[in-house]
């Protein structure tokens, strides 16, 4: 995961740097601009309206006044201008989208980078590299590491039983993740009961029963077609009566376009009033990840997310999108179908890795 993005970030840094250096050379040579061709990417189309609306724009369309530039140059500094970055920024946007970062989220990141870089002066002797790296880091950290908290501690410290409900669209891996987390908690000395709130899907009872048996976990389930809220509620009561530490409540997969099913999810949320709601999505998901994260968050407020199928050579952009729109952290990555294929998500390490640090 994220390998593709990493390569592309590298090349963005080089390009932005080159563009800024080029601009500096131009300034000294007072030369015309030279558009570099990038044959296998959609072409940037310059955004006229933005330039027009900008009060700082002078008559030759430059965002930073010529005077500022000249002054900076005279004092041995150069100023990075928006147009110097246009091509690299467009390439960065494409790189993000190519990594499955949702377009709106990609634009947020671009805005941050642009904000950080444009108008920045630096001593000519410095390299631009440091600046670009910092700008990228700021932007990425801001979106990737939202709201991180110590999950283990939160679970240990909450009054038991701690009830966690899992939500998400069909087939993303909710049930499998519950099985994995069941083992995760037991390994940490916490007792677990699983509730099969999926009373809809064919074979759902058999699926989760097999997991529970394999892991030796207590399972509460009702007949197919039963009330999902009641199943999870029963499990909470069971946990209270038997001093169980953690209740993991499964729900049937649903698409956010079904008002009835989303209302049912809200009802589960109201009746069970879980300590935590974890939204599960898959790392292979594309642009739609944002939409569903939003809608699930609306129906039953999300406290964190799990991204599954991170082993499937995915681009990983969904992690960035989901974190950004929910404002809640990605807590775990699913990295395979085995019970131990679960990894804590570490945003700092990820950003560092992305930036080759």
């Amino acid at each position: 995961m994220f390998d593709g993005l990493k390569d592309k970030l590298d090349s963005f840094r080089e390009d932005a740097e080159a563009a800024a250096e080029e601009a500096a050379d131009e300034e000294s040579a007072s030369d015309g601009s030279d558009e570099r061709e990038r044959p296998d990417r959609p072409e940037p189309v310059d955004d006229q309206t933005e330039a027009e609306a900008d009060p700082d724009t002078d008559e030759d369309g430059s965002t930073v006044g010529r005077l500022t530039r000249a002054k900076a140059y005279a004092t041995g500094r150069i100023v990075i201008e928006e147009e110097d970055l246009e091509t690299p920024l467009w390439d960065l946007e494409m790189a993000l989208v190519e990594s499955d970062v949702e377009m709106g989220v990609a634009e947020t990141i671009l805005d941050r980078v642009r904000e950080e870089l444009v108008g920045e002066t630096r001593k000519q002797v410095d390299t631009t590299a440091g600046l670009v790296r910092e700008a990228l880091r700021e932007a990425l950290v801001e979106v990737i590491s939202v709201g991180q908290f110590d999950f283990d501690e939160a679970v240990v410290e909450a009054e038991s039983p701690v009830t966690i409900v899992f939500t998400g669209v069909n087939g993303v891996g909710k049930t499998t993740t519950i099985a994995k987390l069941g083992r995760y908690f037991e390994e940490r000395g916490l007792s677990v009961v699983i509730a099969n709130g999926d009373t809809y899907r064919a074979g759902a009872n058999e699926q989760i029963r097999e997991h529970a048996d394999a892991l030796g976990l207590k399972l509460i389930s009702h007949e197919q077609g039963g009330d999902p809220a009641a199943v999870v509620y029963d499990a909470v009561e069971y946990a209270e009566a038997n001093d169980v530490d953690v209740v993991l409540g499964d729900t049937a997969g649903r698409l956010h376009t079904s008002d009835d099913l989303m209302e049912q999810l809200s009802k589960i949320d109201r009746v069970v009033d879980p300590d935590m709601t974890l939204f599960v999505d898959e790392a292979v998901a594309g642009q739609d990840a944002v939409r569903r994260a939003e809608e699930f968050d609306d129906a039953a407020a999300v406290d964190g997310a799990v991204l599954t199928k991170a082993d499937a050579d995915s681009q990983g952009g969904a992690a960035i999108s989901v974190a950004q729109v929910t404002g809640k952290p990605i807590l775990f990555l699913g990295t395979g179908q085995g019970y131990d294929d679960l990894r804590r998500f570490d945003p700092e390490a990820l950003v560092a890795d992305l930036l080759d640090e």
Binding site: V45, V169, G171, E206, V284, D288, A312
Partner: protein
């Protein structure tokens, strides 16, 4: 409320061309940019988007618009043709004995699709059987068995055997009298070499007439790599796109079709075995571009209406676009809503009426919640035929009478009337829109006996 906001900027850009008869280079650049955005937001592979938009740009600049055609229609037709050309017709599925193997990522919808396709074949008068070779996923056997029971089709699986290849062989023999064999497989992805080897073995054991790649509509840019691997392993003869009842546009399928040089066979639009449709290019392209599709609308409405008890009335969604929108129409709409989705989505499927228009409406113009619907139903039961046909006659006195009859507060009656007025006003806007494009499209479709055929809505 789910609005189709994707295509709205594309629509806006195109609408800027409405009055023009020639497109400038600048116009074309703007349109191409919006098309790129729409396609990227639909998860079409970046390189494919570049190819497509280059071709569109070149043709839009080079080709002369036929006389009498507006610049907008000219460009739209090029866009549409390029897309349909790339995506191709629906995969040919002969109605004869055959073996079909399903492959795809974990959770993409293979097992559900197996049951759906079996149901589809049985409706076509063939005897299908599903063979479940997934020995890995817990509950896979029971899931497939239950789905096949719902589809009322034959099923073979063996919960005690753990070799999928053996099950595949045994299954073919055990279901010998079936005409169509559909072989389900466990989910796997491109990097799982041993599982890729396994599906190659299954493929050799069953020698299917075609292998279909089952793909979630929401898949991102990974679609390229995944379909390449599956194609190398078993040869992808067609693609099934699932979960199209969500908001994902399914652009990954376009990538898969491009990568595997195949086409799309079926679409999955829900969790029950009936929620399957044969692929139809114009509707899919419309969805990718966020531009709406009338044919799909008509089919869905038809199905929904057939399932409603009101079958005696020949209510047609196109009536919505004609003269008056009565309370009766509203009630039909409400009753069909469960199956079709909310009115805004239905409207979105009509060419030219999609998100662009919807975006300009107040947020709740089309939003009728289930609860309100139910109370509206009760109110309408207390109204006379005349009042239902012409709600304007309902004044203060009648409101009191209706409310008493229905046992609801007068405010509910007023809300109903207000809701009706709002919907009516909205539909009026649609009726008045544009330069007759809509009417022309509808006429054209009428000419083709209701089908869009190869020409499509912009042809």
């Amino acid at each position: 409320m789910v609005l189709d906001d994707l295509g709205s900027s594309l629509r806006g850009t195109l609408d800027d061309l409405r009055g023009k008869s020639r497109v400038s280079e600048e116009d074309v650049k703007n349109i191409v940019r919006e098309i790129q955005r729409s396609l990227l937001q639909a998860d079409v592979a970046v390189d494919l988007v570049t190819d497509l938009s280059d071709a569109i740009e070149r043709r839009a600049l080079e080709e002369e618009a036929p006389s009498g055609t507006s610049a907008r229609d000219h460009v739209l037709r090029i866009v549409y043709e390029e897309m349909v050309d790339l995506i191709g017709d629906s995969t040919e599925i002969p109605l004869e004995p055959q073996t079909i193997m399903l492959a795809g990522l974990q959770g993409s919808g293979k097992t559900t699709t197996a049951a759906k396709m079996a149901w589809w074949f049985s409706k076509k008068g063939l005897r299908p059987a599903v063979i479940q070779t997934d020995t890995f996923r817990p509950g896979a056997y029971d899931q497939a068995a239950q789905m096949c029971e719902r589809a009322e089709v034959a099923f073979y699986g063996d919960p005690d055997e753990d070799d999928p290849v053996q099950i595949a062989r045994d299954g073919l023999a055990a279901t010998e009298d079936a005409e169509v064999h559909i072989v389900d497989t466990a989910g796997r992805h491109a990097l799982e070499d041993d599982l890729i080897d396994e599906i190659e073995e299954i493929e050799r054991a069953v020698s299917p007439d075609r292998s279909l790649l089952v793909m979630d509509a929401a898949i991102g840019q990974g679609a390229r790599e995944q379909s390449r691997e599956f194609d190398d392993a078993v040869g992808v003869g067609g693609v099934v796109v699932t979960k199209l009842d969500g908001t994902a546009k399914g652009g990954g399928a376009l990538t898969a079709v491009d990568q595997t040089d195949s086409s799309i066979a079926f679409l999955g639009t829900g969790e029950t075995v009936q929620d399957v449709e044969r692929f139809e290019p114009s509707g899919f392209v419309s969805r990718l571009l966020g531009m709406g599709d009338l044919q799909q609308l008509a089919e869905r409405v038809e199905r929904a209406m057939a399932e409603t008890d009101e079958a005696e009335d020949d209510w047609d969604p196109e009536d919505l676009l004609e003269g008056q929108f009565t309370l009766r129409d509203m009630r039909k709409q409400m009753q069909a809503m469960d199956r079709m989705g909310p009115l805004d989505q239905v409207m979105d499927m009509i060419p030219g009426l999609g998100g662009g228009m919807m975006d300009q409406l107040p947020d709740d113009a089309m939003d009728v919640t289930q609860e309100r619907l139910r109370s509206f139903e009760v109110v309408m039961d207390s109204m006379t035929d005349g009042e239902l046909e012409n709600p304007r006659v309902v004044g203060k006195e009648r409101t009191v009478r209706i409310a008493r009859g229905a046992g609801v507060d007068e405010s509910v009656v007023r809300e109903l009337l207000e809701q009706h007025r709002m919907m009516e006003r909205t539909l009026k806007q649609f009726q008045g829109m544009g330069d007759g494009d809509l009417q022309r499209m509808m006429r054209k479709m009428g000419d083709q006996g209701g089908g869009m055929g190869g020409a499509g809505p912009f042809g």
